[in-house]
């Protein structure tokens, strides 16, 4: 931003940097290329000439060896008479030029066929055929000539393996002449046609080059012979031996020279020259040799160190790469786990089913439906707990496994309770009770405390409402509960929905209602007794309780409540009270209704 916020004054064009750079680079490149070309030309030319010379000599040697071997074969077969050798060599040369197959392949093939047939003409014929088959099948001339050689000698299986289009039956039942005639028909003109192709032309060029190489190689060998002044290379070999001996003697003499030098000159006396015997490098060539050895040792060590360093770096790189891969795999597994959780159909179905059960529970109208829903919910909970346990086992999380097992056991217990056809109310009650919050006040303790207070205040125990209430309650409870239990057992034994079951149910409900009524009465009596204890007037016939005076002693105010309405009309009384309360609320004297 700041770069643009400026005013340039009096600018000068100095040329675009890119152009200048490009120009400089081009100049430098041109110079480098020229230098490189010069250097390369020198090195490349020398190397090429040397390597070409080597290759030429090698090619000549191999060709000469093959030609000699063929000549020896002809001689051994008694065919080295007249113009046979020349005929064979001329034939191979012609074939080479015509078909583009190297004489390096043709000579051994011819050699092989000559040994099998013992006839120059037949061998030429078979070599021609071999060239056709090789061109037609794509096999090498060597392989085809070997197969033909074997077939000529009676083993036709090899010929069958060439894939020439003759069945095993044909090969075994036919004579070699018949097979040859058949093959000649099948592969007629293949070699010539192949030679006329582009690839064939290239092969011919290669052959020309190789022949040139062989010729040059021959020339070089001849040159060596001429240099040694002999018709063979033996003097050259002798000369090389002499050079080797001379070099060995030179090394030996050098060693002697070192020994003599050390004896004659005590270098320790020459303090200006001598510094450290180990550091002494000697004189002239000797010093060069020793320092060269030291340098070589250092170089080797350095090379080893470099190699080791590279190996270590490579190993570190591999470890790092493996770690990265591991981290990536972990990450992928984590993501996959999340994905599995998201798309775990079992879990989805269970969650949906539980939601549905909750909805159904809200709509349930009968206890049977509620029981069925409770059963289904318990089963779903068990299934969910099983899945959670499986997950925990898969995750190898010990704490999770313990927690999941505990949860599964609890769910199974609930299912077991619900699953029993003989439903025990007490068990269900225990289940439901476990869900309810605990009572904050223990009533029994409270009653006991009231009894104690009565004792302290010297009240007669007979008037103790708690005692009487408890007695009544206990009495009533002892009387009712066994009946309810017995009737419930009886009802469970009867078929559900039957009239007897219905009657029993009504009877049980009546007993329970009576029990509740008596219990509430006991509660009322307890309240009155409590008010007596606390010095209040109780609400009973003899107490003379006046609501207008109730809590009058708290602040000394008198509360007058006058309800003006018709006597005996409950609605009118209710409306009047409601209006009064509304007014009070509007005035702000009533906190809440």
């Amino acid at each position: 931003m700041a770069a643009d916020v400026r005013i340039d004054i009096a600018a000068q064009f100095v040329g675009k940097k890119a152009f200048k750079d490009a120009e400089t680079s081009t100049d430098r490149l041109t110079k480098n290329v020229k230098g490189l070309a010069k250097g390369l030309l020198a090195v490349y030319s020398a190397q090429k000439i040397l390597s070409y010379a080597k290759a030429s000599v090698k090619a000549f040697a191999e060709d000469d060896k093959a030609a000699t071997s063929l000549g020896v074969t002809l001689k051994n077969l008694g065919l080295a008479y007249g113009a046979n050798i020349g005929t064979v060599n001329g034939f191979i040369s012609r074939l080479e030029m015509q078909t583009g197959v190297l004489d390096d392949e043709l000579r051994p093939a011819m050699d092989r066929l000559l040994r099998a047939t013992g006839d120059v003409a037949k061998s030429q014929e078979l070599l021609n055929l071999a060239l056709d088959i090789a061109a037609g099948t794509g096999k090498s001339v060597t392989q085809v000539s070997q197969s033909l050689q074997k077939a000529y000698l009676g083993q036709t299986q090899a010929l069958g393996r060439l894939g020439v289009g003759l069945s095993r039956a044909e090969l075994t039942s036919s004579s070699f002449e018949e097979i040859q005639a058949r093959l000649a028909t099948l592969f007629a003109g293949q070699a010539t046609a192949a030679a006329d192709t582009y690839a064939g032309s290239l092969a011919k060029l290669t052959i020309a080059g190789n022949n040139a190489k062989e010729t040059i190689g021959k020339g070089l060998v001849d040159a060596l012979k001429s240099a040694s002044g002999s018709s063979t290379v033996d003097p050259v070999v002798q000369g090389i031996d002499a050079i080797a001996n001379a070099i060995a003697n030179l090394a030996r003499e050098t060693g002697d020279f070192i020994a003599i030098t050390r004896e004659n000159f005590n270098l320790k006396d020459l303090s200006f020259f001598y510094k450290d015997p180990k550091a002494f490098k000697g004189l002239g060539n000797i010093s060069m040799t020793v320092s060269g050895q030291v340098d070589n040792a250092v170089l080797k060590t350095q090379t080893k160190v470099t190699k080791l360093t590279k190996e270590q770096a490579a190993a570190q790189s591999k470890i790092l790469k493996d770690k990265r891969l591991g981290a990536a795999i972990d990450k992928a597994n984590l993501a996959l786990g999340k994905g599995n959780e998201l798309f775990d159909m079992d879990k989805i179905q269970i969650a949906a089913a539980l939601t549905n059960q909750a909805e159904q529970l809200g709509k349930a109208t009968s206890s049977a439906q509620v029981l069925q829903i409770a059963n289904d919910t318990a089963r779903l909970n068990v299934k969910r707990s099983i899945l959670a346990l499986e997950d925990a086992i898969a995750a190898k999380d010990e704490a999770a496994i313990i927690a999941a097992t505990k949860k599964l056991n609890e769910d199974l217990k609930v299912l077991n309770v619900l699953g029993m056809q003989n439903v025990k109310l007490a068990d269900i009650k225990s289940i439901l009770d476990s869900l309810k919050p605990k009572d904050l006040i223990n009533l029994q303790n409270l009653l006991d405390a009231i009894a104690l207070l009565q004792q302290i205040m010297g009240m007669p125990m007979g008037g103790n409402p708690a005692t009487s209430g408890n007695a009544a309650n206990n009495k009533s409870g002892a009387k009712v509960n066994p009946n309810v239990a017995r009737l419930t057992e009886l009802r469970q034994q009867t078929p559900p929905g039957s009239p007897i079951s219905f009657l029993l149910k009504e009877h049980i409900e009546e007993i329970i209602a009576e029990s509740s009524l008596s219990a509430s009465m006991v509660d009322e009596q307890s309240k009155i007794a409590m008010m007596r204890i606390l010095g209040r007037t109780g609400i009973d016939a003899s107490s003379g309780f006046n609501p207008a005076n109730f809590r009058a002693s708290d602040n000394g105010d008198t509360i007058n409540i006058t309800i003006q309405t018709g006597i005996g009309d409950p609605n009118a009384i209710a409306e009047a009270i409601d209006q009064y309360l509304t007014d009070a609320e509007q005035r702000g004297t009533l906190r809440a209704r």
Binding site: A2, V5, R6, I7, I9, A10, A11, Q12, F13, G15
Partner: protein
Amino acid sequence: MPTEVKGAVELRKALRKFTPDLAKETQKEMGALLRPITNKAKGFIPSASPLSGWSKEGNGVWGSRLQWSTGEAKRGIGFKATPSKPNRSGFRSLARIVNASPTGAIYETAGRLHPQGRPQAPLAKVVAIGHSNYGKTIRSGSKDQSMSNNPNAGQQFVNAIDRTGKVVNAYKRAEGQGGRATRKLKGRAIFRAWAEDGGKTNAAVIKAIEGSKVKFENYTLKVK
């Protein structure tokens, strides 16, 4: 658009090499010509923050760097009398007036490209999995678009700054000159000062360079 001269860079090299005193004298002379412009430009910098919140430190990397400071904005205005590096077009300026501080540059240039504020960038949902804002809808746009949720934020900013000083175009098109005029010579401080100068300083600087050339030629003639 600076006046093009030829051989000034070479002249300066020659001055430094053969007549260092003359080189220093030339630079001093140019400085004396440019200083009034920069002083005037500094006077255009408001003494208080153009926007009340600008002087408060913000968040992030630019929180304190972009905090308004009158002193910093004034200190950022200056001149250089040495040749610059070649720009992309191959020109080297022999002298220049700069407004280098970030806050000064903002004050200088705010609204010169978008006088009505930058257009608001469109909202787009981030769909790239793994992105920190994946699934969220954010504003996504180029540098020429505002990322603020307030569509008038840019305009309000420019208006507030405009109350302290208007953008002035220092570019004067010569007679018969064609082509698109540069928008990079518009501003509230240095460009305003340069525009108000009316080209007198520019001519004086060129004259000073030519004067040094004459002096150098006289010196070389004397040496010969």
